[in-house]
Symmetry: C2
Subunit: 421 residues, 2 copies
């Protein structure tokens, strides 16, 4: 990590100089302000560009990056059969290479932190660290209601925790509970307690489909998945609940009171026809923390947070019949600052002492040629190719759209893909 | 127009050589086939790339390209006030420059033909021809229920028709009837007859909002806008109806029986909260021809047909609760071949004697690194930056993402924009 100076960059509307010392922002000052600190600065002239925090993808399965398009225009049960067929063939090397491809895509589309949920986590960790991103990697509890598997996973989970204690500072270890329908009750409680004992976040799929709600109510005395998890004492501000799509008023109240982070995965929900009426206004007003995710490429086909932001807002406006629904400032916060809050990290904001996870956006193009605000043009008009450069943890991971080693990453990934198709 | 040879390009799954003579495709043969014709060919090696027809944007207002972001997160009546405020200040020079910006965006996002609906049409025509695109430009009838204005527009319409007869072969002249609520009945009938007498297409906004339906039924003996237009004898295969969002079963039947082209503008409909339940399956099954459009940048914020394709399919799948809704082959046809049919042009297909309006797609990137089909990866994973080069009417209008004169176009447009803000 060097000492980086971004000169003449627009920051919150003002042309500024941003100083990055090590992995943190040290100063944000009006452009041209004289600073005498005796340091050597690596200067990048950012005239005509705007800075914003890196995006945080709060729910994904990174290693599914090479499963995009595997099942299109088919019913859910046929789709999941195809995915399982592919997953039955993958190994550690596949996860390593596929996570590198995912990181490449995330860098090119402006994501600096991702909250991952997949198998062979040490390989995903290796890939993310090599690519320079900030990963949140969960050990996935998924016993498929087999008590022997529960015991095996308890042992493995403890081992992973020990291993994670040796990781790079940049990585965050978490516990994933796959879902209420795939994990035994005793194991849900164990995982939740293990996480709390060790100060770890819990990442769980909750209330994604109508079937999940119906099955849960039948099996648990009429309780919804949210009510059931709350009855087990699982829900709290340490919980990151992916989807939370089918919610009753009582579910909304509980998620708000417990301060749960709800992650909206709009593209996955639309494409798999899971639903679209995410109760954004109600969750926000109840006090839940709301973030955005892409889900894995098998269901949403890319990891593009800017696309996710646009689609999320468009759908809210449409079904609520209210063009003011999910306004831009809240939308940007969902993709940045709210995630920092959820993860307890100093990310998603540009201020002194925050971690230096930044996007440099090129606004010298037709998408920004209008009287509209930067945020409006970024979210509603532009695509991720306006992201000129990306800094994560104080280091450039992309400069002028070039990610080091891109060709080699694709070539290596093609080799492991060829083995399974 | 030269003689272009695209070598080693994937066409409909087979590695091919494509010969373009003048403005038409002359041969599509397996790569390496020896052709002895005595011509000099300008050869482009397209290894690792795939060809497809250029997109056709069947409903837009190109010169609104610099109004993106003008009104965000506000109610419709506040939004329209802001747009009218901007429109009150624009002149011919503005329309010329703004249409050039729109053409630049269309080229970069793969649109080769656009069906435009705006004022100062001769300036839009000049811009589109200079940029090398294939424009369909309508004289817009919009008398706002003022009989004097009707008469003025009849005269001007005839003049425009005469002028259009002198245009470049590439341009198509059409008649736009703004909408049933903004044009007097007598004038709707006049415009429709004028179009039929001269073999012109009619471009009209139909059934965009619930208010339009309600007002029409109150004013026209309970008839919907579709029923009302049909009662006037307007509807037929020469009609391109934009939006057709709020339709009764009887409306669907009429549109199908008359062979009307219905243009779905999903992003505009979502963003303005007009609605989202476009009756795609029903219209298709009734026999209507269905195409896609972006609408103007003031309402949908960009002119990206690939984004429009993805969002259209995602929304259908979601509200129909059917992941197989709007399948990929139909989606691609809506953006290409169906538009050729609507306009009576040999575009939207790759075959001998078709007009050479082609996209060269770079598939050597992460979006296409999967066992998914080309179409799946293009629509659901990629963005328009995978479009490497664009050919319109037998000429390259973009090569390797470079459009000649891009910087100068933006600089000139900035000048006219500065005058009105």
């Amino acid at each position: 990590m060097g000492n980086i100076l971004l000169k003449n960059i627009v920051c919150k509307g003002a042309v500024s100089d941003i100083y990055i010392e090590g992995n943190r922002i040290s100063k944000v000052v009006p452009a041209g302000t004289s600073i005498s600190d005796g340091y050597e600065w690596e200067v990048t002239d950012c005239s005509g560009k705007t800075v914003m925090p890196g995006f945080v993808n709060m729910h994904t399965h990174a290693a599914m990056s090479m499963m995009r398009g595997v099942g299109e225009d088919i019913a859910f049960h046929d789709w999941i059969d195809r995915i399982w067929d592919v997953e039955s063939k993958i190994d550690e090397e596949y996860v390593y290479q596929a996570t590198k491809v995912a990181c490449l895509e995330m860098i090119k589309t402006g994501t600096t932190t991702f909250n991952d949920h997949y198998w062979h986590m040490p390989m995903a960790h290796k890939a993310a660290i090599e690519m320079g991103l900030r990963p949140v990697l969960a050990y996935v509890i998924c016993d498929r209601n087999d008590p022997e598997e529960s015991e095996r996973q308890k042992v493995e989970c403890r081992q992973m925790y020990e291993e994670a204690m040796t990781w790079n500072d940049r990585s965050v270890f978490a516990i994933a509970i796959h879902a209420i329908y795939s994990v035994r009750e005793e194991m849900i409680v164990w995982a939740s307690r293990f996480a709390r004992e060790h100060g770890l976040k819990v990442h769980i799929h909750v209330s994604e489909t109508q079937k999940e709600i119906k099955d849960c109510m039948e099996q648990h005395n009429g309780m919804s998945p949210v009510e059931y998890l709350d009855s087990l004492g699982v829900l709290g501000p340490d919980v990151i609940a992916a989807h939370t799509l089918w919610l009753s008023d009582n579910d909304v109240r509980i998620l708000g009171e417990r301060g749960v982070t709800c992650v909206h995965n709009v593209n996955s929900n639309l494409k798999l026809a899971s639903g679209y009426m995410f109760r954004y206004n109600e969750l926000r007003d109840a006090g839940a923390n709301i973030c955005l995710g892409t889900d894995g490429c098998a269901s949403s086909n890319n990891l593009d947070m800017l696309e996710t932001m646009k689609t999320s807002a468009m759908i809210q406006k449409a079904w609520r019949e209210d063009p003011s629904a999910m306004p831009l400032d809240e939308l940007v916060a969902m993709a940045t600052a709210n995630a920092g809050k959820a993860l307890g990290l100093e990310i998603g904001k540009i201020e002194e002492d925050a971690l230096a996870d930044l996007l440099i956006i090129d606004t010298q193009n037709y998408n920004f040629l209008s009287p509209g605000s930067f945020e409006a043009n970024l979210v509603y008009s532009a695509h991720s190719d306006c992201i000129d450069s990306v800094i994560c943890d104080g280091e450039f991971v992309m400069r002028e759209r070039v990610v080091p080693g891109e060709k080699e990453i694709l070539a290596q990934a093609q080799k492991v893909l060829n083995k399974i198709i």
